[in-house]
Symmetry: C2
Subunit: 794 residues, 2 copies
């Protein structure tokens, strides 16, 4: 059918492409820099943004035989183990540091306020300022990509967009030390989002064998070159981050599944689960080791786990109404939070942060001072309450574990309820808000004050140049209004066994649901951190309501932020307008830049310079003179070939006219691009005028069978194809003139053989069976000559 | 480009096909009857098996505007609510019945054995026999599809294979009453798998608006005609089943996700979650209502939830070794279980069950007698042990809640440890095995005896013609050897605070992991039913090991069973041999049967009679005489057209030569096939000789743009395409001669408009933008005339 000459080219391409296999098959990682610039309005003309692709060794590995495949499998699990250990240790390190800084800060402040509240405040504010300054300094000077929570960026990475710098070694370091500073410095933010990013960085660095820039790389580790494998590792890292942040292994798996990944394979689930389990064991071991105060203040607070297993035993149906109200409040406040942070982030992005690094530092320091003033001075204005008689430990010094904090109280047996939640680490504040058997500990006035002030602080703090998670602030806000509702309920239904702490927990769930719009994973995380399964249906109810209410207003926090940061996430479902568009319309009526099989170097260079396309069709001529599309060549492949120059030839003829395999002179490792880097540019390549006059045979480097669609296929159908398979390029071709065959489910139900050796035999047998079957059909049809006109013979 | 005549046909097809949209797009449901017959060896020649397709109204619905879409959304959630309530009530009903039958049986037997053990045994065996007989009678006479657990069949349904009868109303009834008989009759099987099937049946019946056969259908409910919507409902039903069986809502969601579905959309997760939450609330309400003994014996045992929250507080590292050993044992015994049940099922299928219904009934009755003899007589042979002094309630009557059962003991203060687990309902036996603070309750000898006998019984019982789940028997077996290992550990490390019950729990997890090979969902289910999060890392460890060990031997229980039942599941990944095959080879070298656009009725009839293909290409001629593939027409569409006859015409010319829309005379509801039915056959259609001489214009009924692949694409690539998109048919076409355009990620990032009215305007604008962009590129390129030869102008 195809001419020999043409066929030979295809065969060579297949042979080589099976070693640098089609990155179209794998789910793709783009580089969003172009789009980022575009959304920054920096006037870059590039409508085509850079798509820099990685190369996979999957096929090559498979050809190396079963042993190598098992080796790879072992390495994958070993890496999962390493990711678990690494993320677990990073989390322990961050927690120990934060707890110690915070504990030391509070005990010092408390010692000083015994003498003077003014001096105490100055010391308190100064320590906070220094910590926040260290954090913002690290971020602005060393690792700008480590600011924020990192979850939108990781989500983007797993959707196919490699934002520059997001998974580098310096980002990892910046994230770890930055969050110690920002969380230890008492800002209204958490360390959970950053931990997810930390896990993802660890996974990505492991996946590419360390950081080349810092000479920490090892060839031994450079096993995974394909996007798919690296993405799998990053998914494991995300789950590990959540598992470490909340000591919630199942929650981590579900978070990775529901919130972060765009493609999920059930085979991956088990590996992700394993990583989470390793994290759980590492964290547990570290906590066991720290029990005897070996780690300073760590161990008393530390990992956020607010045990409410001694909470409310039962609930009655009449309580469902206030719970539904909590859900509505959560949806409203969460949606408002998303909207406010959206405005403030876009304002920062467009005005404030354009003015340079110094503005970012000053901004963070000012917010730190503001936070210190509010958290120290507001409790001073509050009148103390007398201790309940049931608690013998009643007034505790501030910054310690436990309720009923003594702060600026005149009498001996009094406590300051606002200081109990405000002048405290967030973990302890949440523990106090969740606590059972402490009815009437907080006054409604204090809770309302705290809610308003903390909400405002959280909104203002969001988007500063420090690592910042939104989980813990969200739980703080939610549990405050939850407890408020709980107080009203207790006051209204006096006789029921109602705990305010239960309502605080539901409030926390509702706010997170209203802001992040996570569902199952959030539910499981809430259950795991509170160690109480009884509340599961209640948490579900509250989440259902708050998510529905929130969805009525805007998108989830991470989607909003991804949009603001110019990360173009491909949604799982096509847009409505796509129904009425065809493939032809989608790709415009312009021309297609294509290459012949053998092309002049100078032409390649000019074409690569003249546009920003990342894939080019290769159109060759069969011996009959008829043109045939022989495949797709990628810009990045061309750049590698141009840079190495070994494949240049003087003859404008194909290098293998008789179909003989030319030895491929490339190390295929060259085709792999490190994650988060920009790759080679055409402007980096210098070619002499002699070299420009030479030719390149593209046949070995092209993808011989990219996916094709007919020109009048609906765009929503194409969208599904593109999104489900994670494609980068798709050829739009004219409507075909013939059908050579139909493939149905039955054709795909081939029994696999046990050994690679019998593959040839096996596939022959299958072909025979198929021929037999078709033969039968033909015989059956042959009895009906009247149909002959209808049968398209091949 | 395309001729007008041709274009008109395509336009008509698009217009109509948008109302009976392409079932190729949706994930597909085949009918496995053909393959079942084939695997039964019944000599049916059909190598092409029946693929009977459903029709979707998605597009049509979308065109009805936003209001209708919101209406559909509300209906979907309402259906989720109904599924939750229905499954919850079904579970409550089954549980109340089983508990009451079992409780009544045991109390009657106990009253009689006070006087005579022989009479007691006879009564006990007779009651069991009657219950099992009722179950097997219902199944064999009324609902044969309700035998077994149903999970492999549901898995098949969600993979695209509609096994006949699996989701009918009679199957639902048979499943509910059959499991009451088989579980109440004391066989070594559980009610959890059947509950999953029950949930799926309820969901499917709701989805198609009730059962037509039993006149229980309502037009109001017939909203969902598409495979996708029905499949979503069935997924909800599965999750509801697990949630109801184990009171494990999160476990239910994960079970549906991990074990049952083949395609998962994250949008679905939240709805599935909601269904599970509804089930949890329904079950909880029912249990609350039953508290005051209003439901007889139900309430004391009832829903299996074995609270071990008062279990072992902590564990040391030295315990990890015995736990790993439990994992290995679980993997070995689980794999052995799968292998044995595989042999015994295939033996039953090939020999025993061919002999007719009577054999099935006798078999089940014999197994019931055997079970009665073993469970009654073995404890008689066992010497009683003296009661521990710590438990004042020590000898309890058998069949009651609690440990230390008095059975055939000579002294007052003695109990029979074998009777405690054997002569009891399985739920209570498991509760006893899991129980903490009961060290040395069971002797190693009793546990070993029980393990061997129960394992044998479970293997023999598996595959009889009664509804049968494998969860509870698996937990029984696992917890027995787990407790055995626990005893050895307690004996070895005397000073540690070790509970045998904890080891029993780990043993249960390990056996289920070794047999079913579920991971995350099993872990969550185990945590939810034991209400103890502390053991999560341990359960994970045990599952990791047991699954790995089991995978070394064979496939999971459900995969093995699906294979045996001839359900051809399409695995998520392509087989190895597919790498070396091309599309052309896969579809054979025979001819393709295709239709012209206007075809004679007689020709259609003969083609449909002559083969069993389910999709036919339609090849039309453009005005230039060049043939063009205009689309795919489905057998089932053709059958509907043939049956209704309204589209027959006398002229052999296209019915709309000027592109005018002919009014479509079909009610598109005709195209929808009820789930689990066989659809129309060509032999059912009678046509007069006049009608046979008429013509049909296929243009309105064809799918104008099926997915296409070039002939030399690798089969593994095609497999991914097929599997990811859930296709039924794929056209293999020659390599294209031109590329009209490339579609990249950027082309798919179109902003959606808010209202449907502006769609036209919007899509024009987008097209304009695209043209502008291409224009720019063209201008940029125009400056480089040397490239002109390389640029394929369109």
């Amino acid at each position: 059918m195809l001419s020999n000459h043409f066929q030979n080219g295809i065969e060579t391409a297949k042979r080589v492409w099976s070693r640098i296999p089609n990155s179209e098959d794998l789910q793709y990682i783009d580089d969003a820099v172009g789009l980022l610039k575009k959304s920054d309005g920096s006037g870059v003309e590039s409508l085509d943004y850079e798509v820099i692709e990685n190369y996979a060794y999957r096929e090559e590995q498979a050809q190396r035989g079963k042993l190598y495949v098992s080796y790879l499998l072992v390495v994958k699990w070993f890496f999962a183990l390493l990711i678990g250990i690494g993320t677990g240790l990073a989390a322990v390190f961050i927690n120990i540091s934060v707890e110690n800084f915070a504990g030391w800060k509070y005990s010092l402040t408390f010692n000083i306020i015994q003498k003077s509240y003014v001096a105490g405040f100055i010391v308190y504010a100064l320590i906070n300022l220094v910590l926040v300054y260290s954090s913002v300094y690290i971020i602005t000077q060393f690792a700008p990509a480590a600011a924020g929570s990192g979850i939108p960026e990781i989500k983007g990475y797993l959707n196919g967009i490699d934002v520059h710098g997001i998974l580098l070694f310096r980002t990892l370091i910046g994230k770890i030390f930055g969050s110690i500073g920002s969380v230890g410095g008492g800002l209204a933010l958490g360390k959970e989002g950053p931990l997810v990013h930390t896990g993802a960085c660890i996974a990505s660095l492991l996946g590419q064998g360390g950081s080349t820039k810092y000479h920490l790389s090892s060839r031994w580790f450079q096993v995974f070159k394909s996007d798919r494998d690296r993405r799998d590792l990053v998914t494991c890292g995300c789950a590990a981050g959540v598992a470490a942040a909340f000591r919630a292994p199942v929650g981590g798996v579900l978070f990775a599944l529901e919130e972060v990944t765009s493609w999920w394979r059930s085979q991956l689930m088990w590996r992700v689960f394993f990583t989470s389990a390793v994290v759980a064991v590492v964290v547990r071991t570290a906590m066991g080791w720290c029990k005897d105060e070996r780690c300073g203040h760590f161990g008393s607070g530390g990992f956020i786990i607010w045990d409410v297993s001694d909470g409310q035993e039962d609930y009655s149906f009449v309580e469902l109404l206030p719970m539904a109200i909590i859900g509505v409040i959560g949806g409203l406040l969460g949606a408002l939070f998303n909207q406010l942070t959206r405005y403030i982030t876009s304002w920062r992005r467009n005005y404030l942060h354009k003015k340079g690094i110094r503005v970012k530092i000053v901004e963070a320091c000012l917010i730190s001072l503001l936070t210190s003033v509010i958290s120290f001075c507001l409790p001073l204005l509050r009148k103390c309450s007398p201790c309940p008689e049931s608690d013998p430990d009643c007034p505790r010094p501030p910054g310690m574990y436990g309720n009923y904090v003594n702060f600026f109280c005149s009498k001996e047996k009094e406590y300051n309820d606002l200081a109990t939640i405000f002048f405290n680490t967030q973990d302890d504040a949440i523990r106090n808000l969740f606590s059972a058997k402490t009815i009437h500990e907080f006054s409604a006035q204090s809770l309302l004050t705290f809610l308003v002030m903390f909400y405002a602080l959280a909104v203002v703090t969001f988007g500063t140049a420090v690592p910042a998670g939104q989980f813990v602030p969200g739980i703080m806000i939610g549990s405050t209004y939850g407890r408020l509702v709980g107080m009203l309920v207790v006051r209204h239904y006096k006789k029921l066994n109602i705990e305010e702490g239960t309502y605080a927990l539901l409030g926390a769930a509702s706010f997170l649901g209203g802001s992040m719009r996570m569902t199952v994973s959030l539910c499981v995380i809430m259950v795991e951190i509170t160690n109480n399964l009884k509340f599961l249906p209640l948490i579900m109810l509250v989440l259902l309501i708050s998510k529905a209410v929130g969805d009525a207003f805007n998108e989830g926090l991470y989607e909003e932020q991804a949009q603001l940061r110019g990360i173009p996430l491909l949604a799982p479902r096509p847009k409505y307008v796509m129904r009425n568009m065809t493939a032809r319309e989608a790709c415009g009526s312009g021309m297609v830049v294509s290459f012949p099989r053998v092309v002049k170097v100078a032409d390649v260079v000019s074409i690569l310079r003249s546009n920003k396309h990342n894939g080019f069709p290769v159109v060759d001529h069969a011996r009959s003179g008829e043109p045939l599309v022989s495949g797709l060549v990628l810009r990045s492949h061309l750049l590698v070939i141009l840079q190495s120059k070994v494949d240049f030839q003087h003859s404008p003829l194909p290098s293998d006219p008789r179909g003989e395999a030319r030895p491929i002179s490339h190390d295929f490792g060259e085709f792999a691009k490190p994650v988060s880097s920009k790759g080679i540019s055409i402007d980096d390549i210098l070619l002499s005028s002699d070299e420009l006059e030479m030719y390149m045979d593209l046949a070995p480097f092209l993808n011989p069978s990219p996916y094709i669609v007919p020109e009048d296929m609906s765009l929503s159908k194409i969208y599904n194809l593109f999104r489900q398979l994670g494609l980068r390029h798709l050829f739009v071709v004219p409507r075909p003139s013939r059908v050579l065959g139909l493939i149905t489910r039955k054709d795909l139900l081939i029994e696999d053989t046990e050994t690679v050796n019998t593959v040839e035999l096996q596939s022959t047998r299958v072909r025979m069976e198929n021929s037999d079957r078709r033969l039968m059909t033909r015989n059956a049809d042959a009895e009906r000559p009247l149909l002959n006109g209808l049968l398209v013979q091949d």
